[in-house]
């Protein structure tokens, strides 16, 4: 019995010591538990959104892009009282995500966002059971012909194209390296677009692509970056959350290796070498969806964020622009895509 108490205390102390090191006022994300009610009298019923995501909200990649967008929409709509956000992150188990989606729907949320292509089956099954709820599913264009499912996608190949184009102008060694997780979905679109843009800019450039087979193996992503660098690459890019390791390696390299990011603005990670990032501004499609929902249309449409509607924005690292016309060149490529001068052909 004594030993049990000792063990109990040990585990307890460990948890408490470690948790107690947390600063008193942690920056809690702007969420509300559904049981709580807004204390100030809200102007109208708040618009309630629930989102289910496959990775962490601070992954500096896919999930964060959606979460940041929701926060921006919340800010525009007047804060927590007008716009309620609730989330379940790290829902990589498809089955658990399905339970979450169903649960949020049954709690009466106006919009339930299933932010992950693997959730499609679940949304397809659940949506018919909740005709009053609007569902949004990304990244895809398939709405399953359901009246209450919206679909959204990112034309990440467009920003990829711009990044690739610019990368090709920067490389002195004529070798560029790409680090990806698995060759599917959003990652594949980005990488294919990047390669196309690089080769359009300079057909003599070599673009080496490495899919490391995992979304979470940071060490392997870092070694992939080192391998690229050893193979002569002096510009790198990559997609998904494990690239933070790769960015680190790019920064430590003895000769400057530049980085192009996607999904979120990755400048903060390595201000010395991150050139630009294709940032997803999902709020562009979110505001449209919300508008439609408030007017009574709960689904049946698909949305794309791209360069044209401002859903994808190339955000440059203002601290350093590599040569005077650099940003202008980028803008030129963007307008080239928009007016059709450049066409992105994907394999």
């Amino acid at each position: 019995m004594k030993k049990l108490v000792l063990f109990f205390t040990l585990v307890l102390s460990l948890s408490m010591i470690l948790s107690a090191c947390a600063p008193a006022a942690t920056e809690a994300p702007a969420t509300e538990a559904p049981a709580e009610v807004a204390t100030e009298a809200p102007p109208a019923e708040p618009f309630r959104v629930a989102v289910v995501m496959p990775s962490a909200i601070n992954d500096l990649a896919f999930s964060q892009s959606m979460y940041d967008a929701l926060l921006r929409v919340q800010g525009e709509m007047g804060g927590e009282a007008a716009f309620e956000i609730v989330y379940s992150e790290s829902m990589f188990v498809v089955d658990d995500a399905a339970a979450a989606i169903r649960d949020y729907a049954s709690q009466g949320f106006d919009l339930v966002i299933a932010h992950g292509s693997q959730y499609g089956s679940s949304v397809q099954e659940i949506a018919p059971d909740f005709p009053e709820t609007s569902f949004a599913w990304g990244t895809t264009v398939d709405t399953f012909d359901q009246p209450n499912i919206f679909a959204y996608e990112a034309a990440s190949q467009e920003g990829g194209y711009v990044n690739g184009f610019l990368a090709a102008t920067l490389t002195t060694s004529k070798t560029i390296g790409v680090i990806g997780p698995i060759e599917t979905g959003d990652a594949k679109l980005y990488v294919d677009g990047f390669k196309a843009g690089a080769l359009e800019s300079d057909p003599t450039v070599t673009v080496n692509v490495n899919y490391i087979g995992s979304f979470s193996d940071v060490a392997l992503a870092a070694e992939a970056a080192s391998t690229h660098i050893s193979a002569g690459a002096d510009v790198l890019t990559g997609t998904a959350q494990m690239v933070v390791g790769a960015i680190g390696k790019a920064e430590e390299a003895s000769t400057p290796v530049y980085w192009f990011g996607t999904q979120s603005n990755q400048t903060s990670l390595a201000p010395r070498i991150v050139v630009a990032s294709q940032v997803y501004h999902w709020e562009v499609v979110l505001t449209e969806m919300i508008g439609l929902i408030q007017d009574g249309t709960l689904g049946g449409q698909s949305f794309v964020i791209n360069l044209e509607n401002g859903g994808e924005v190339i955000e440059y690292n203002e601290a350093f622009l590599l040569y005077p016309d650099f940003k202008e060149l980028g803008d030129l490529v963007v307008s080239g895509i928009l007016d059709g001068t450049y066409t992105i052909t994907l394999p």
């Binding site: 000792l6 460990l14 692509v209 087979g213 070694e223 920064e251």
Partner: protein, 310 residues
């Protein structure tokens, strides 16, 4: 295209990269070796690594001192090891399962602390490469062996030290005795409990340092679940190495170098599907073990709790 693999650049790259990648595996596996030699299987290595990685990263970030970070990892790992030792030695828990429990706990707790104490992905100034004077200037070999971070050097230095401790010291003798025949050891006056506490806490400490080697040496960042299965591979490598430090090192190097090789294969554009390339280190590890059929039996008391006959 395959011929592109056989260049000095690739060779040097694979070796240097392999040594770097092997480091966390080496710390964790050596630690596990001690534990297993004394009869304790710890499958919770990955949880210990993640907590150690976070502790090292956070302390380094807030204090600016890398060695304080290492110390933090050490302490956190030791505490986890202590908990595991208690559960194993005093409570005679089924070792495979308790290990998995600690793994899940470490995984969840490290993620939780990361979210609450850091909030975003950040970087630190980690350990830098130390170029050993003169030796690091030797072309090729210099880059591979003599231009690594201090934690890499320490990991490899650990191998002969472990070998010495296990085979040439009284402590090592006690450890091995407890692992082979705890009843006999007990009757000779060796405290089985004390030895196992030592080895398991040591194992936890080394796993913590393994985590630190990831977050403040090899990489400069912490992210949720950044070990991604590393701890389990490390445990597997103990079997590969037949519970001998040199064997474990060989396993860690084999695995990591093949991993490094498959990275090169992809980078050079050799047309092997990426999924197949990623499989290579795992398949090869099994194959090598099959081919080098080992007659070595493991510690006889491995996974069996010790209870003194009344």
């Amino acid at each position: 295209m395959i011929s592109e693999l056989f260049t000095t650049t690739v060779l040097i790259g694979v070796l240097a990269s392999g040594i770097r990648l092997a480091t966390p595996y080496l710390y964790a596996a050596i630690g596990e070796t001690f534990g297993q030699r004394s009869g304790v299987l710890n499958l919770g290595v990955e949880g210990q690594m993640l907590l150690g990685a976070f502790a090292a990263f956070y302390v380094t970030l807030t204090t600016g001192s890398l060695w304080l970070g290492v110390l933090a990892a050490l302490i956190v790992g030791a505490l986890m090891g202590l908990a595991m030792a208690f559960v194993t030695v005093n409570l005679h828990a089924q070792q495979g399962i308790s290990g998995i429990g600690f793994y899940l706990f470490g995984l969840g707790l490290s993620d939780l602390l990361f979210q609450k104490m850091l909030g975003t992905v950040e970087t630190v100034k980690g350990f830098t490469k130390i170029h050993i004077p003169v030796l690091s200037d030797i072309p090729g070999i210099g880059e591979i062996f003599f231009s690594q971070t201090v934690l890499v050097y320490l990991a490899f230095a650990l191998v002969p030290v472990s070998w010495f401790v296990l085979n040439k010291t009284t402590l090592g003798l006690k450890i091995r005795a407890v692992g082979e025949n705890p009843d006999a050891a007990d009757s000779l006056g060796v405290s089985v409990a004390r030895v196992r506490y030592f080895t398991v806490i040591l194992g936890g400490t080394l796993s913590g340092i393994a985590g630190a080697s990831l977050s403040i040496a090899l990489l400069n960042v912490f992210q949720q679940n950044m070990t991604s299965g590393l701890g389990f591979i490390a445990v597997a490598l103990v079997y590969f190495g037949a519970w001998r430090p040199w064997g474990v090192m060989a396993g860690a190097l084999l695995f990591s170098m093949v991993n490094s090789l498959q990275l090169w294969i992809q980078v050079l554009g050799i047309p092997i599907p990426s999924d197949i390339a990623v499989m290579m280190p795992y398949i090869l590890t099994i194959l090598v073990l099959v081919v080098t059929v080992s007659r070595v039996r493991g510690p006889s008391a491995l996974t069996k709790p010790f209870e003194r006959e009344a």
